[in-house]
């Protein structure tokens, strides 16, 4: 096994147990679809070296038949893995389980659902619709001018406050209130779409959002555009260059409204934080971190988009006693000499994690939407090649192996072959893994970058 190096966090490779990687840097070895923390080749190499360490290389029988290591890796991942932890909401302990507390709880439920909810809903609809009407009026009546923009922003702020009141939000804001500034960008951890509302009710922000359909699109295009929100289609979000260009353009405007980015790219459960994508940290702007911590005392604000529709999520918020939350505006950070954008992102993430009491996990949030093994067949092939080389050594050969690309396609073909073979043998498995993931991908939404 590798020896731990003094003064650095032990970084074992996710999914490969028993070995501590000979990792010279402090960062976790993580494989992602876009900008990884290390080069793909480097990560593959770390895994390959670890695999190599685990083989006996003395007995052909053992190296071929003893599959205990890979099986342990696999079953260990089935039992517990660091990625899914970020998206589970812990169920609160039920406190209504005895004869004294139960009636009180029932009374509480009645009040929340039959009294509070209707009142809140009514006030929300009245307030929100009035504000929308005023907004559209202002939009049509006044000529585009600075005053109009300022007025519209105030209205949006009030609309967000109406929403916050609908959930009876008890929100404490710590730190200096954000003011627009040249070349500044704001980043925050992401728990639910309501993060944006919570922040906007205090101080207006523009955000990069997925353009939706229906009445939300109407809201987005007419109202949120006044804040300078940037719209993208799903396909465009994947184009980092386009996003980066638009971000740069926005932050360079003189009176630009503060631009807010959620570098995690997806909603996380407010106990963990997944990898910060480096897009916002790469444009040469000063980054102002915001940490948002929800208090689960009355309701869990995490929106698990895989299990819950947004409407149901809102309903849950509106039928709870209150939404308690702390927002911390932290000190602006600039990229240091000799620091890479990914390291910068990591540093800011550490700050936010400290204030919001989150644990950092090295996975890319987008892994919710795609199968890591499928996207990076190279990693699996490298690991396999280690065993193949050892086995060839037993045969007395050390021949040159085919290129990685050939390997990747051949590997996939072999896998498909195996899959089809086994489907013939065992039956009952439909579609295969790729189709399953395509289904998930089309079902999921992309959250602000």
């Amino acid at each position: 096994m590798g020896e731990p190096v003094k003064g650095r966090v032990e970084s074992s490779l996710p999914g490969l147990r028993g070995i501590v990687a000979d990792d010279k840097d402090q960062e976790h070895a993580v494989v992602t679809r876009e900008g990884p923390t290390k080069g793909d080749a480097e990560i593959d190499q770390l895994y390959a070296e670890a695999e190599d360490k685990r083989l006996s290389k003395t007995s052909l029988l053992l190296d071929v038949l003893n599959i205990s290591n890979v099986l342990t890796d696999g079953v260990s991942a089935m039992v517990d893995d660091s990625f899914n932890k970020c998206f589970t909401s812990t169920r609160p302990e039920p406190w209504n389980w005895n004869i004294y507390l139960f009636p009180i709880w029932v009374v509480g439920v009645v009040i929340r659902y039959l009294v509070l909810f209707p009142i809140r809903l009514m006030l929300l609809l009245i307030g929100f619709n009035t504000l929308i009407a005023v907004f559209l009026l202002v939009d049509l009546a006044l000529m585009p001018s600075k005053r109009k923009m300022a007025l519209q922003r105030k209205l949006v702020q009030w609309m967000c406050s109406a929403w916050v009141a609908a959930w009876h939000g008890v929100i404490r804001y710590h730190g200096p209130k954000p003011t627009p500034g040249k070349n500044r960008i704001w980043v925050s951890n992401h728990t639910s779409m309501i993060d944006y509302v919570v922040l906007c009710s205090y101080s207006p922000f523009a955000v990069i959002m997925q353009l939706h359909h229906g009445w939300i699109a109407f809201l987005q295009k007419r109202i949120l555009s006044s804040l300078g929100c940037l719209w993208f289609n799903r396909t465009e979000v994947n184009d980092r260059a386009v996003v980066a260009a638009r971000m740069k353009e926005h932050v360079n405007k003189e009176d630009a409204i503060p631009l807010l980015i959620f570098p995690e790219g997806t909603c996380v459960n407010n106990e963990y934080t997944v990898m910060f994508k480096r897009g916002a940290f790469d444009i040469g702007a000063t980054v102002c971190p915001i940490a948002i911590k929800y208090n689960k005392i009355f309701v869990d604000a995490f929106w698990n988009s895989r299990r819950e529709a947004f409407g149901k999520h809102l309903f849950r918020l509106m039928t709870s006693w209150a939404l308690v939350c702390d927002v911390y505006f932290l000190e602006p950070q600039s990229i240091q000499q000799g620091e890479s954008p990914q390291e910068f992102a990591g540093r800011v993430q550490a700050m936010i994690a400290k204030y919001a009491n989150l644990r950092i996990v090295p996975w890319d949030g987008y892994l919710k939407y795609y199968n890591l093994g499928e996207k990076n067949p190279g990693l699996i092939e490298k690991r396999r090649r280690v065993l193949a080389d050892v086995l060839r050594a037993y045969l007395g050969k050390t021949g040159a192996a085919p290129s990685t690309m050939e390997l990747a396609t051949e590997g996939k073909a072999a896998l498909d072959g195996l899959q089809r073979n086994e489907e013939g043998l065992k039956g009952a498995v439909d579609g295969g893994v790729l189709q399953g993931w395509r289904k998930l991908c089309t079902g999921g939404t992309v959250h602000p970058v």
């Binding site: 996710p14 999914g15 028993g18 052909l60 029988l61 053992l62 071929v64 038949l65 003893n66 599959i67 205990s68 890979v70 099986l71 342990t72 890796d73 696999g74 079953v75 260990s76 991942a77 089935m78 039992v79 893995d81 660091s82 990625f83 899914n84 039920p94 209504n96 389980w97 005895n98 139960f102 895989r306 199968n371 890591l372 093994g373 699996i380 092939e381 396999r384 090649r385 065993l387 193949a388 086995l391 060839r392 045969l395 390997l407 051949e410 073909a413 072999a414 896998l415 072959g417 195996l418 073979n421 086994e422 043998l425 065992k426 009952a428 498995v429 893994v433 399953g436 993931w437 998930l440």
Partner: protein, 176 residues
């Protein structure tokens, strides 16, 4: 009155599962595994599909992920626990060997034949090992393991008699 914190698991279920897995798990571990099962089983179908297993990033980068996932064929909770049982610190060495044998025996006929080994080697060593080399390796392994054309469990066990299976342990996280 009151709510079941374990969401649907009764004592009867727990007892049944403990019996099915030969008592290697205590109740706390079973409850924890149940929570995990429910988390993986999206849609609460009562079983976990291969896609759901492969959505675990750490599992999807495992070379034998496909075989592992198809080995247990859409497990319900009892089968899920039985699959994890050999990895309990209280499981016997025999249990571990049986599990390894079952995974290796792809067609499930109780013997590890050349075809089984060929398929497993494709998953383990990939395609950088040529077909010729693969067959060569298989011949040598069969020769060294007793000379038969295929391995039964006894031969498999004997071949791995010097293997240290102490690493084959998985901790079930239990929150106290």
């Amino acid at each position: 009155m009151g709510q079941a914190a374990s969401g649907g698991l009764t004592q009867g279920d727990v007892d049944e599962v403990i019996a099915a897995s030969k008592g290697v798990f205590n109740q706390a571990e079973i409850e924890s595994l149940y929570k995990r099962f429910r988390a993986l089983d999206r849609g609460h179908k009562g079983y976990i599909s291969p896609e759901e297993f492969l959505s675990i990033p750490e599992l999807s980068i495992n070379p034998v992920a496909q075989r592992l996932v198809r080995c247990c064929e859409c497990p319900n909770f009892t089968i899920f626990v039985k699959m994890v049982a050999p990895f309990s610190p209280r499981a016997s060495r025999d249990d571990k060997l049986v599990f390894m044998f079952t995974v290796y025996d792809v067609d499930g006929d109780g013997f590890i034949s050349r075809e089984d080994m060929s398929m497993m080697l494709k998953q383990l060593a990939g395609s950088s090992l040529s077909e010729e080399d693969r067959q060569d390796i298989i011949s040598r392994v069969l020769a060294q393991a007793g000379g038969a054309e295929r391995l039964d469990f006894a031969a498999f066990k004997a071949a791995l008699s010097s293997a240290d299976l102490g690493n084959m342990v998985v901790e079930v996280p239990v929150d106290l």
